[in-house]
């Protein structure tokens, strides 16, 4: 497995607050990497630096490098929109657009210039199949996406992210707003998707990290404390703070 993303000495400030401190990490291709840690530890913030979603917040300042396929994504030559196409994102709360299911999925491809109806139909079907939701929605593609259940909405958002054929999928606590059944469906889906995509998932649920991830990174107060294979990190943590956290002593 080769590495697809690397962060080098990454620091991030919100105004005066030093939110990420010297983060160094490499993320292997076609695997699931989980970020865990107590709330406010910087795990979501770090996830958003990986496709420059933090650019949208005016007071953010970033130093260091994030390399994707060897290219620093903070380089001024990089096209942010193209970057975000290749590194897709699924958000904490399902956020379908107030449009039909079809138009939600077609939004990304249309954004990147695909206009042919035949081609779009094909992408919509394939993305919905990949997100394991095709059978539930194939008869109501023209219905408004806001009428779906929360779990369906989140899988729709995953399908929407897949429709632009990304290489990496960033998931920011994608199941925190969902019921247990919907959660397990998303987890199954993630495991299925790692065959063709690299997945980075932020979760507050340690069982979830154990169930689905290959590697786990533990964040605390803006620092990356420990990073390694999930099994090893949870069974024999090397840092005292990791041990305290995974045994439930704080957070």
């Amino acid at each position: 497995m080769s590495d697809i993303m690397t962060a080098k000495d990454l620091n991030l400030w919100y105004g005066e607050t030093h939110a990420l401190k010297n983060v160094n990490i490499t993320i292997p291709e076609k695997s699931i990497t989980a970020f865990i840690g107590p709330s406010g530890c910087g795990k979501s913030t770090f996830l958003k630096t990986l496709n420059r979603m933090n650019d949208l917040i005016p007071s953010v300042k970033i130093t260091g490098e994030v390399c994707y396929n060897g290219q620093n994504i903070y380089d001024s030559l990089v096209d942010v929109n193209e970057l975000r196409r290749e590194i897709g994102m699924v958000f904490q709360k399902p956020n379908p657009f107030p449009m039909s299911i079809y138009d939600n999925i077609a939004y990304g491809p249309r954004t990147h210039g695909i206009k042919s109806k035949v081609k779009l139909d094909e992408i919509v079907e394939q993305s919905l199949r990949d997100a394991a939701i095709w059978d539930e929605v194939k008869d109501r593609l023209k219905k408004n996406a806001l009428g779906m259940s929360g779990g369906q909405q989140q899988r729709l958002c995953i399908a929407r992210a897949l429709a632009v054929k990304p290489k990496i999928l960033l998931m920011d606590e994608p199941t925190s707003a969902l019921d247990p059944i919907s959660t397990s469906r998303i987890e199954e889906l993630a495991i299925e998707l790692k065959k063709s995509y690299t997945i980075v998932i932020v979760t507050h649920n340690m069982q979830q990290a154990v169930r689905i991830s290959d590697n786990t990174a533990f964040f605390l107060l803006g620092e990356l404390i420990e990073y390694g294979e999930t099994e090893k990190l949870f069974s024999q943590p090397t840092d005292k703070r990791t041990e305290d956290y995974i045994t439930g002593r704080f957070g």
Partner: protein, 283 residues
């Protein structure tokens, strides 16, 4: 038991409140009733469908109705894109707080300036400096400046209700800023634009001081393009001229009744629109 002093205070306040509210209600009812009683008998098909003729001595207000319509249309055509654009800049682009503060302060200042001053500056700038002469177009452009803050504010309010998650979702798919605005932000502010239009129409219909020196007093019957480049009286200006200069009170009251009906309709549609969209929002 309450002391005598407290009892007196309470009943005093009660009386003051009842009188004030009653007086306000009575005033509105009187105004509406008086204008309708005096005006409606003078509204006839002939009045509505002809232009004034010195030969027959009859007065028709069709030109004034059309002029008003032209002014409303021309003003909206300019003010909607400008106001919506300004609102988009403020909510979607502007990052500098000082600049935002300055723009909002300017908008507030604009809404506080009396219409007679707009009329004067409109006359100097549009009629004289830009060479539009006294014309409906010059009047409309003056009204564009007056209504800019209204459209800007209502659009801004509704843009604020577009969930940030829609924008995040679109950016996350690699959409550029303009595409995000066009596809997920703008559709969400339709209600604000409609509310802004209704409020502006109300203000345009009622405006007179700003039009007096910019659009003029003429009663010629014109098509829209001809109309915009020639002078013409709106309904309000016509009312003023008929009442103050010509003593034609019957016609003046007929126009007043028409304006009153239009005001009622505008208020009703504003209420309807805000209720309709509030329901939609509950999703």
């Amino acid at each position: 038991m309450l002391s005598k002093k407290r009892k007196a205070y309470i009943s005093g306040m009660k009386v003051a409140m009842y009188i004030s509210t009653g007086l306000t209600a009575a005033l509105v009812i009187f105004l509406v009733a008086y204008v309708f009683i005096k005006g409606i008998p003078h509204i006839s098909w002939e009045l509505l469908s002809t232009k004034p003729s010195y030969i027959s001595g009859r007065i028709g207000i069709l030109p004034d109705i059309l002029n008003t319509l032209y002014i409303v249309l021309a003003t909206l055509i300019f003010v909607i894109p400008l106001g919506v654009g300004a609102a988009i800049y403020l909510t979607e682009y502007a990052k500098n707080k000082k600049l935002v503060g300055m723009i909002e302060y300017a908008a507030e200042a604009l809404s506080g300036i009396p219409s007679i001053i707009y009329g004067l500056v409109g006359m100097l700038f549009f009629c004289q400096f830009l060479g539009f002469k006294t014309s409906l177009l010059a009047g409309s452009l003056t009204l564009v400046i007056m209504n800019l803050p209204t459209v800007m504010r209502t659009t801004q309010e509704s843009l604020k209700t577009v969930p940030q998650s829609y924008r995040d979702g679109a950016f996350g798919l690699g959409a550029g800023k303009w595409r995000v605005i066009k596809t997920v932000v703008l559709p969400g502010c339709v209600d604000g634009v409609i509310t802004g239009c209704i409020l502006s129409i109300g203000r345009i219909l009622g405006e007179s001081a700003a039009l007096l020196f910019t659009a003029g007093f003429a009663h010629a019957l014109n098509g829209i393009f001809e109309g915009l480049t020639s002078p013409g009286a709106s309904l309000t200006v016509a009312l003023y001229v008929y009442a103050k200069e010509q003593g034609e009170f019957g016609v003046a009251f007929a126009i007043a009744a028409i304006l009153m009906i239009l005001t009622l309709l505008i208020n009703l549609s504003a209420t309807f629109v805000s209720k309709h969209f509030a329901k939609k929002r509950e999703f």
